[in-house]
């Protein structure tokens, strides 16, 4: 549920003269920075580097023998670990399957909220709910919805005469789509709010000018709205993709990765490997591969989109 960089308040811009130039870094500056910097170095940067180092060792939990440096052996094993690549594929499917529809839906909602409609306050109020809920509760809630007997989804299916309904979360074919729908629901508010902010940034005059020139709704969207919200749209999509790929709690509660590993996201896999089987080094190697692949995908995505210019 972090949302750094998307929903942070943006202060006023500095006056043309720029911020006041202060003396170079002095004692006082360090005094201000150190209380946060030390914990960051000790508990975030340090563990990250340690984690990368662990990926090259045979570290295990609860073992008396000392940990040895084994070079790239973990990575070689990972290459041949079909279960891991299955989970990797599922992770990508899940991340794309959540991010893309969520973006489309959130854009639609943001456009509606930006229009002068009456139920805006209600939509805003409701949009808080998925955002503020603990992921564990979101998972539990949807398990109640999906429940084969007492759930409202199957009851609706039955009421509509579409059959007896099914066991959505344990059916091999329906499990992944079912958790993806929950993922879309859970992340709607952040995406909507970010896009709405972008929309309110769109100059109104341009819209009106385009309308006077006889441009239809779609043309106005393409030529006026989209260019204005593009930076926000790219940023939020990229972040959503990363968060989704790395997500854990939602699917852990919904399916624990089942049935038969069909919803086993890489994080669930790595968690089991590390904390159920105690394979710390191997799980760390998984983490490294996840970071590497995410970085590559994002670099390609951002380079293509940002450099591509007009591609609507």
């Amino acid at each position: 549920m972090t949302l750094t960089g998307v929903v942070a308040p943006q202060g006023r811009k500095h006056p043309p003269g720029g911020p006041p130039e202060r003396r170079r870094r002095d004692g006082a500056t360090w005094f201000l920075v150190l209380p946060a910097l030390i914990p960051i170095l000790l508990l975030s940067v340090g563990p990250l580097l340690y984690g990368i180092a662990l990926a090259f060792t045979d570290a295990q939990s609860g073992r008396t023998r000392s940990t040895r440096w084994i070079g790239a052996l973990n990575f070689q094993d990972l290459l041949h670990d079909t279960l891991f690549w299955d989970s990797f594929r599922i992770g990508l499917l899940w991340a794309v399957g959540v991010t893309v529809p969520q973006f489309v839906l959130a854009l639609g909602l943001a456009l509606l909220l930006n229009a002068n409609l009456r139920m805006r306050w209600l939509a805003r109020a409701l949009a808080i709910i998925p955002w503020a809920m603990p992921e564990v509760v979101v998972g539990i809630m949807w398990r109640l919805v999906y429940n084969p007997d007492a759930g409202i989804l199957n009851e609706t299916v039955r009421d509509l005469g579409l059959g007896d309904g099914r066991d959505w979360l344990t059916g091999p074919a329906t499990a992944l789509p079912a958790v993806i729908l929950v993922g879309i629901w859970a992340g709607m508010p952040q995406t909507t709010v970010a896009l709405l902010a972008g929309l309110q940034n769109t100059p109104h005059e341009l819209h009106e000018a385009a309308a006077l020139d006889g441009a239809g709704a779609w043309r106005r969207f393409r030529t006026v709205t989209w260019p204005a919200i593009r930076p926000v749209a790219l940023a939020i999509s990229a972040l959503n993709f990363i968060w989704n790929f790395n997500s854990f709690a939602l699917v852990y509660v919904l399916t624990s990765g089942g049935p038969g590993g069909r919803t086993r996201l890489p994080m669930l896999f790595a968690y089991e490997e590390a904390f159920r089987y105690g394979q710390f080094g191997y799980a760390a190697a998984m983490g490294c591969v996840m970071v590497a692949v995410i970085s590559v995908i994002l670099a390609v995505f951002l380079a293509g989109r940002l450099g591509g210019g007009e591609d609507a």
Binding site: T2, P9, P20, P39, I140, N147, A270, M286, V291
Partner: protein, 279 residues
């Protein structure tokens, strides 16, 4: 959206909005409804939308089955301490990030962005080993330390935004009057930042209150576990055991963050939109 949207288009817009509202609201309404249903209704093969015979039994049973109060107290302690510590140490650094362009603030901003991309498993394994050596596994203090650092990226980001919104002229005036840097921060800038600091603290609180992964890994015994972890015990080994108490406990666990979020929502969305409009 457009200066002249026709009546049909308007109707379409409202229809779409209603669909969104249903999509957003119905799982939540179902949770609440389930929480108040008596066991008899929950066992029925044809569930009703609303409880026909609302009851509080599920809540009572939930408290009987799991140590919910204890878990809530643990969550409260962890979230409160983490939020307070995070804000206290982040505010000065955010100030430096906002006011001084230098390698330090560039590095800090870079770290804020990059830290969003870690899979937590890469951080939690070493943290687990370190905390184990410090005997801080299964300790709320260990979890609080992790939460503090984990909430720092967005705390720094939010607070730096609030600092930038404070006109530097005020600080310059104080500097001319001979006030030192720390003095300026405490007596000029901090009071203006107070609402932003509160919003950031509440946000950090909610994030920690809702957090699951670190708590799952670091807390072993039920007496130490936080609310989200204890909630998963209701699920049992094989599917959902007891729908009513599960729903009741889940609904209760949401309440604090929902209320706080309603309180700061305007600040979060409002800060964003005004910032965007003013550019």
């Amino acid at each position: 959206m457009s200066p002249r949207t026709g009546g049909a288009a308007r109707t379409g817009q409202y229809a779409a909005l209603v669909c969104y509202l249903v999509f957003l609201a119905f799982p939540f309404l179902w949770l609440i409804s389930t929480a108040f249903k008596p066991a008899r209704e929950l066992g029925s093969l044809h569930p009703t939308w609303l409880p026909e015979d609302p009851t509080l039994d599920n809540f009572r049973q939930a408290f009987d089955e799991q140590p919910l109060l204890r878990a809530a107290a643990n969550s409260l302690t962890a979230a409160l301490c983490a939020a307070l510590i995070a804000v206290v140490i982040a505010t000065p650094m955010a100030y430096v990030m906002a006011r001084h362009r230098g390698r330090l603030s560039t590095a800090a901003t870079g770290w804020v962005v990059i830290s969003q991309a870690f899979p937590f498993v890469l951080v939690i394994i070493p943290l687990f080993l370190v905390l184990k050596n410090l005997h801080l596994i299964n300790s709320l203090w260990g979890l609080i330390m992790v939460y503090v650092v984990w909430s720092l990226p967005f705390a720094l980001w939010m607070l730096a935004g609030y600092v930038r919104a404070v006109p530097p002229e005020l600080e310059e005036a104080a500097a001319v009057d001979g006030a030192g840097k720390a003095r300026i921060l405490v007596s000029v800038t901090a009071p203006l930042l107070a609402p932003g600091i509160v919003a950031t603290a509440l946000f950090a609180f909610i994030t920690a209150w809702n957090e699951f992964f670190f708590a799952l890994v670091l807390l072993k015994t039920p007496e130490k576990q936080t609310l989200p972890v204890v909630l998963t015990h209701f699920l049992g080994a094989e599917g959902v055991a007891d729908l009513g108490p599960l729903a009741a406990a889940a609904a209760l666990a949401t309440l604090p963050s929902l209320l706080l979020f309603a309180f700061i929502q305007k600040r979060i969305t409002g800060g964003l939109t005004t910032g965007a409009v003013k550019h």
